[in-house]
């Protein structure tokens, strides 16, 4: 199986966010909201870290 680094990070974030959403909240609506929040933070963190590493390299 071949997968890009970003796709791997996005899939990783999605799966973790689903589990976090279900286990860390009680109401279905809050589960969806918290899962989406985690997923957004993971992706933003990944992109931010990538740019920081790019900045260090250049």
């Amino acid at each position: 199986m071949t997968i890009s680094h970003f796709a791997a990070a996005a899939l990783f974030s999605l799966c973790i966010s689903v589990v976090f959403g279900i286990t860390q909240r009680s109401e279905p609506k809050m589960m969806v909201r918290f899962g989406a929040y985690c997923f957004a933070l993971f992706l933003i963190g990944t992109i931010a870290a990538s740019w920081i590493m790019w900045g260090i390299r250049h």
Partner: protein, 133 residues
């Protein structure tokens, strides 16, 4: 304030059965509690992480007393329960060559196991009434 406990929670062995089932099969604890959607989503998320990890040629740790990170990796992998046993029976997770993406695979498998423990404990909390259903 104490939360009302269900009839199932009164049975002292049921919460442990839920915990064990949730560990052995991802989402099975929630399935026993009739939380169908949660069980399906947990099963899908955790098994996807595990099988993507194996497909990326990630390493499945075996019991060891060597490097601390290897010991922690084994503990994380063990969290997958039945999937970990399946990987051993099938001989998965023993990459013959070292590639960069395989390290991602190893992390997928370890984190999938840790998430399975979180899910099983969540099912146990629901069963004993610690968490609102």
């Amino acid at each position: 304030m104490a939360t009302p406990k269900s009839a199932a929670a009164e049975n002292s062995t049921f919460p442990y059965l839920v915990l064990l089932a949730g560990w052995l099969i991802p989402g099975a604890g929630h399935l026993l509690l009739r939380k169908w959607a949660r069980a399906g989503l947990l099963f899908a998320a955790i098994t996807t992480m595990f099988f993507v990890g194996v497909a990326l040629q990630g390493k499945v740790y075996t019991p060891n007393t060597g490097d601390l990170l290897d010991i922690l990796g084994f503990i994380g992998d063990l969290g997958s329960g039945g999937l970990y046993m399946l990987a051993h029976l099938a001989g998965w997770g023993q990459p013959s060559e070292q590639i960069a993406i395989a390290d991602y695979g190893t992390k997928f498998i370890v984190v999938g196991g840790l998430l399975n423990i979180v899910a099983a404990v969540d099912a146990h909390s629901l069963a004993i009434g610690r968490k609102r259903a």
